[in-house]
């Protein structure tokens, strides 16, 4: 048997046959190594995950309609011209409109946007399927997809119902050729009577519809269907004088209200016809946010449906310093009248957060290392006093200080080896659990972690042994001759 073999036999016997004591030291090293390995694994993996999450809040500037004048594609391009091309990562315009799904008698918010830009400003959008690449295609938020039960390839019919908007003209100004007039007046017992009249080329009444649903059904309520009564109005010009038309029998008050409503009627912008388009679903969108409640379509389709190219907002992702961003917003607001606003990105600077994370991990690592060091050191100290007589005996038998050092260091390194292997395995499990629970994604095993954890554990274990070894070496062999 060689000396080395005997050395290993002594060292391993000491650990294996004196289990209870060494188990504590082993446990502290293993726990330390577990936390370290876990932290390092997470630390290596997190920037990857965090990076994605940081960029997910990629938009850091918003463009909104200014005080005077709206935001449209032309204005947007004007505003974007103020930002150097290489700083502009992406600019996604948005327009939100309620659209009806007549087949289900439900309405949803449709967001019209530019899909090529969304990818840049909202990389966290997770699409099952594909982004629309052509018109008449939509991306449906997961929430909606679930409520109406659509999937990739489904078709859906969406309708834009235009709202009637008054042009703000006076009744006199309104009475021009081709205008559509709308007016109301109080009828019988306070109920409102509504009229809509379309004027012909000579600005005379071409057609008239009356809504008298608030009036007594047997009397005034009959007016909307009373052709003879309504026909009197055709060809007359506004305003109507007292004897121009006969009153409807039995409904004098309602008849007066119809005349009054016509005389007060003002022009409404010619309402676009409701427009229905058929769409194909190309993808289901998951974001974890409110976007899951929208239907996304192209700006072209929305323009076709609504007849306008108005935009509600544009989200910009600009890579620039804080000062430059301020400059750009000022320039845009001043030159184009478009309101530019900076939004606080969750990470104003990814680097700053990562740096802090690094510092935190470093600090925790340091604390864990220190605690492990103290714990193992204390245990080894106890071990040395427990083994005073044995150490004295070894010295009496001729062990040099070097041998005593080597034996204790050997035990420490052996502990470190076992603890490190245990820690690397447990650490990976620990990291996996943390990653899945906190970041919602699993971690890839880094094989290099095992030797790294073992190395660190062995260094820590060896360092922990320094003081105890000093104690051990100082033990006087003469104690074995004393009846201690």
């Amino acid at each position: 048997m060689t000396k080395r073999k005997m050395f290993l036999r002594m060292v391993t016997s000491s650990l294996l046959r004196r289990r209870s004591r060494m188990l504590i030291a082993l446990l502290s090293i293993a726990i330390g190594a577990t936390i370290l390995a876990g932290l390092v694994t997470i630390y290596v993996d997190v920037p990857r995950q965090m990076g994605a999450q940081f960029r997910s809040y990629g938009a850091n500037m918003l463009l909104l309609p200014g005080e005077e004048g709206e935001l449209n594609r032309e204005k947007l391009n004007e505003a974007l011209a103020e930002i150097p091309g290489d700083s502009l990562v992406g600019a996604a315009p948005y327009r939100y409109v309620r659209l009806d799904m007549t087949t289900r008698q439900q309405s949803f918010t449709a967001a019209a946007t530019d899909f090529t830009q969304i990818v840049k400003t909202s990389p966290y959008f997770s699409v099952e399927g594909a982004y629309p690449s052509e018109t008449r295609q939509v991306l449906v938020g997961k929430e909606i997809a679930e409520t109406i039960g659509v999937h990739n390839g489904s078709t859906m019919e969406l309708t834009y119902q235009p709202t009637v908007v008054s042009d703000g003209k006076t009744p006199e100004e309104s009475r021009v050729a081709g205008a559509t007039l709308s007016g109301k007046a109080e009828g019988f017992s306070g109920g409102m009577v509504y009229v809509t009249a379309v004027l012909d080329d000579a600005a005379k009444i071409a057609s008239l519809t009356v809504d008298a649903s608030t009036q007594t059904p047997e009397y005034g309520g009959q007016i909307p269907e009373a052709e003879a009564y309504l026909n009197q109005f055709i060809g007359k010009s506004l305003p109507l004088a007292g004897g121009d038309v006969d009153t409807f029998t039995g409904a004098t008050v309602t008849s007066d209200a119809v005349v009054a409503a016509l005389n007060q009627a003002t022009a409404i912008s010619s309402p676009a016809q409701p427009r229905t388009l058929n769409f194909t679903v190309t993808g289901i969108l998951t974001t974890g946010g409110e976007e899951e409640g929208y239907i996304f379509m192209s700006l072209e389709d929305m323009e076709l449906m609504t007849g306008t190219d108005h935009l509600d907002v544009a989200e910009l992702s600009v890579s620039a310093s804080a000062e430059q961003l301020e400059e750009y917003t000022a320039a845009i607001t001043e030159k184009t009248g478009v309101r530019a606003r900076l939004v606080k990105r969750v990470a104003r600077s990814e680097a700053a957060v990562l740096e802090k994370l690094t510092a935190l991990v470093f600090l925790v690592t340091l604390v864990v290392l220190l605690l492990t060091l103290i714990c193992v050191s204390t245990t080894m100290m106890a071990v040395v006093s427990e083994r005073r007589r044995e150490i004295g005996l070894r010295k009496a038998l001729g062990a040099s200080d070097g041998s005593i050092r080597a034996e204790f260091l050997g035990e420490g390194l052996f502990l470190g080896l076992l603890g490190g292997i245990l820690g690397a395995i447990l650490g990976f499990i620990f990291a996996q659990v943390v990653s899945v629970n906190v970041f919602g994604s699993s971690i890839t095993f880094q094989p290099l972690l095992v030797p790294a954890a073992v190395l660190v554990s062995m260094i820590i274990a060896a360092a922990s042994c320094l003081l105890p070894i000093k104690r051990a070496v100082a033990i006087d062999p003469a104690i074995v001759l004393k009846g201690e």
């Binding site: 005997m6 002594m10 070894r394 038998l397 003469a478 001759l481």
Partner: protein, 224 residues
Amino acid sequence: MSLLELKNVSKIYGELKALDNVSLHVDQGEWVAIMGPSGSGKSTMMNIIGCMDKPTTGEVLLDGVDISKESSKHLTDIRRDKIGLIFQQFHMVNYLTAVENVMVSQYYHSMPDENEALEALGRVGLRERAKHLPSQLSGGEQQRVCVARALINHPELILADEPTGNLDEANENIVLDLFAQLHKEGTTLIVVTHDPEVAEAAQRTIVLEHGRIAREVINENFGK
């Protein structure tokens, strides 16, 4: 031929003279017993001879080397090479087996050799118990392992401090027989004891009192 020579050796602890101007001469191959009441300085003397302590004054020549002036590192070397120690408390490494305990001594001395260690255990009649841990051995058996351990490296000098103090009659006789064998092989033996029977086995007995050699008795019946 002289192996050990103490010249006016004193060991002083504060006021107390544990050894007071002791001079002693031991020849190679001699078997010497040391007796004396408790506190008379026997263990102190053994510590000095065993290179585990240094005298306050005086010279100690072991094999012609003055060990009272040596550095403690050198003392360790000398102890390892020349001296075999046996203690009253049969100190063993409690997590190593009997044979491993013997091998520890080889390990520090030169090379561990399991067969040789087993042979030494055979000599003390414990070959069958070689794989037992100290906790599985009786006191007498443990002391015999210690004897095997002391003789494994063939030391010139065996120092035993009350080797039979905790042993029964039968084990005491086994140990004394072993000593007699070692003596026959030429090993020098210095045995501290309270037991007159153990002392009578030696060639001569030194009696210590208050750190001084009070008298010296030659055993005329030695070898008979």
